[in-house]
């Protein structure tokens, strides 16, 4: 593992410009400490998702430096980046992205396919992760048999079964009613308590206020970086 003092995410003057000179990020400096709990807020088009993709190494900066778990993303090739994602980073998406027709257990187990674990280990880790998110009784259910909240909890189980250092969630409660959303929130907060750095994109200010740190974005820049007093 990398030096314990090293931040999990370090962005230095990162800019990302898409073809057609659309600037999604215009020089962002941000450090996420290990185990930190952070919300990113901002209106649509402010660059939140681009920043999340850069943190998750799904995208590369046009200029500036992105260092994830001590690795400079720009210097890594596809294979190394993929390995980084496979073992250190978990993603949760607004629309779950579960495979239809495949049981919750196998959805979670398939998420571990690229970690190099054996099928038996993947299944065991998947079962443990589903039990941890409170879906121990839903292992054999197919996605269409699960409620929205259960689907998102399955997706979270899939992200955390690899025991990532960094969990990135893009509007995880955006497609859920408030009660299911609350369950998912509790889950993310508990993960943070277990030591995972959790970064969540949301445009719900009330939700964001429950995070230790809130980063506000506008037009590709960070306009505010506030820390609430820890409860």
């Amino acid at each position: 593992m990398s030096a314990s003092g090293e931040a999990i995410v370090r962005l230095e003057a990162v800019a990302r410009t898409y073809p057609g000179s659309v600037a999604a990020l215009r020089g962002v400096d941000l450090t996420v400490a290990r185990g930190e709990l952070m919300a990113i807020v901002g209106p649509s088009g402010s660059g939140k998702s681009t920043m999340l993709n850069l943190m998750g190494t799904l995208d590369k900066a046009t200029s500036g430096r992105a260092v994830i778990d001590g690795f400079d993303v720009a210097s890594l090739r596809d294979g190394a980046l993929s390995a980084l994602r496979a073992r250190r980073i978990g993603f949760v998406f607004q629309h779950f992205h579960l495979s239809p027709g495949v049981s919750a257990l196998d959805n979670v187990a398939d998420g571990l396919l690229y970690t190099g674990m054996s099928l038996r280990d993947r299944r065991a880790a998947a079962e443990a992760a589903l039990v941890a998110v409170g879906l121990g009784h839903r292992l054999g259910h197919k996605p269409h048999q699960l409620s929205g909240g259960e689907k998102q909890r399955t997706a979270i189980a899939r992200a955390v079964a690899r025991q990532p250092l960094l969990l990135l969630a893009d509007e995880p409660t955006g497609a859920l009613d408030s009660r299911s959303g609350e369950t998912v929130m509790q889950l993310l907060l508990s993960l943070h308590e277990a030591g995972t750095a959790v970064v969540v994109i949301t445009h719900d200010r009330a939700l964001a206020s429950r995070f230790d740190r809130q980063v506000s974005m506008l037009d590709g820049r960070i306009v505010a970086d506030e820390r609430s007093v820890s409860t």
């Binding site: 593992m1 799904l58 890594l76 190394a80 496979a86 396919l113 690229y114």
Partner: protein, 399 residues
């Protein structure tokens, strides 16, 4: 940094599982696109299987009939007139040590056969009348379908044995043995009907009468038109070389020698050309099937961008994505190829059973079918797989 970042390798079982997963999600489309490959492979396997079975049957037949039968015919003289073989040629050829049996027929020119005397003379039905030696039937390995063959007694009387086709043309069957037919202006009694003679198909259209009867009733002069002889199987070519001089020492160049089993073999060779044509058609079907698979895979990649993005976010490398879609195309065409081979083998078996042939599907066809299937699947899957792998993860997730 302590650990090098090395992507995990998928074990082959996981690759198969991934491919099967992709196909299971869209069963109808899988069936439809596999059918194309399946038809192509089935056509090729069946074509080769049927022609191989037919050749196996022919070999069977040749083994039973023997390939050591030679025929000698007088041909035409230097001046283009129909020549004849001398009467003594039978005895002379019989003196060749390697010749084990020899027989002869003599065609009665201008003698025709009719069902009865009311039939107009011009309606000969293309049937010829031959005087036949008694040992003819053994020499050419012909068999009687009904009735009896000529013997020393009946050969002197107006009796006739009909070739298989001739009997059919005259309307004479098993139950009408013993009826009389109008032959050369006299009534002859039908005493037997031959089964089709594979080595002497000209006799299928013949009416065969005894040598003495031909001389007694129809002014036959004993001119031989065809000599049939069996040789030592190892000396066929040697006998062939000296046959013309022996049969007609005066004019050896007038003698036409042939080996009827060659004609059967040539028939098999003609089948090969036809087989080639059908194989070409099968190949076209296979090609179209391959295009179907490619099409299915391209659409699949477009539809599954979110899945590709998700897998990339979970740590799949470009190579992982590539092998997933490549494996899926291979599996898809393997499904088609497998059913195609089974179908082709079944068609071969059914057709062979219908014809009474031994059913033979040569192993090289199955090997070739497997190879063709994998090649088609690989080529069809290559482009979609590369395209899937090139998709940027963020772009895929945005879809």
């Amino acid at each position: 940094m302590s650990v090098a970042l090395r992507p995990a390798r998928l074990n082959p079982l996981d690759v198969v599982r991934l491919a099967a997963y992709g196909l299971r999600a869209r069963p109808l489309r899988v069936v439809l696109s596999a059918i194309g490959i399946s038809i192509g492979i089935a056509a090729m396997v069946a074509v080769v299987g049927i022609s191989t079975s037919s050749r196996a049957q022919l070999n069977h037949l040749l083994a039973a009939l023997g390939t050591n039968l030679l025929t000698a015919e007088p041909g035409t003289s230097f001046f283009g007139e129909a020549a004849t073989l001398p009467d003594a040629s039978v005895a002379m050829v019989g003196h060749i040590p390697e010749v084990s049996a020899v027989s002869a027929v003599g065609q009665l020119a201008d003698v025709n056969v009719y069902r009865n005397r009311e039939i107009p003379e011009a309606q000969t039905g293309g049937m010829a009348v031959y005087a036949a030696r008694l040992d003819l039937i053994e020499t050419i390995s012909a068999e009687l379908a009904y009735g009896t063959w000529l013997n020393a007694a009946t050969a002197t009387y107006p009796t006739v044995v009909l070739g298989a086709r001739a009997a059919a043309r005259l309307g004479i069957g098993a139950n009408t043995i013993g009826t009389q037919i109008w032959l050369g202006g006299q009534w002859f009694t039908v005493i037997g009907i031959l089964a089709p003679a594979s080595l002497a198909p000209e006799l299928d259209y013949a009416a065969l009468i005894g040598w003495p009867a031909a001389k007694a009733y129809l002014d036959f002069e004993g001119d031989i038109t065809t000599l049939y002889l069996r040789t030592d199987p190892n000396a066929v070519e040697a006998v062939r070389d000296i046959l013309a001089q022996t049969a007609n020492p005066a004019d050896p160049n007038e003698v036409d020698i042939s080996r009827p089993s060659d004609a059967l073999a040539a028939e098999a060779a003609a089948d090969v050309a036809f087989t080639g044509l059908l194989l070409g058609l099968g190949a076209v079907a296979l090609l179209i099937g391959g295009i179907g698979v490619a099409n299915t895979m391209v659409i699949s990649v477009l539809e599954r961008r979110a899945e590709i993005g998700l897998r990339r976010s979970q740590g799949a490398t470009r190579g992982h994505i590539r092998i997933q879609f490549f494996g899926e195309a291979l599996l898809l065409s393997a499904l088609g190829g497998g059913t195609g081979m089974a179908l082709g083998a079944a068609v071969t078996a059914a057709y062979a059973a219908l014809q009474g042939w031994p059913a033979v599907v040569p192993p090289w066809v199955l090997a070739g079918g497997t190879l063709a299937t994998l090649a088609i699947g690989g080529i069809a899957g290559l482009y979609p797989a590369i395209r899937a792998a090139r998709l940027a993860p963020t772009e895929a997730l945005a879809a």
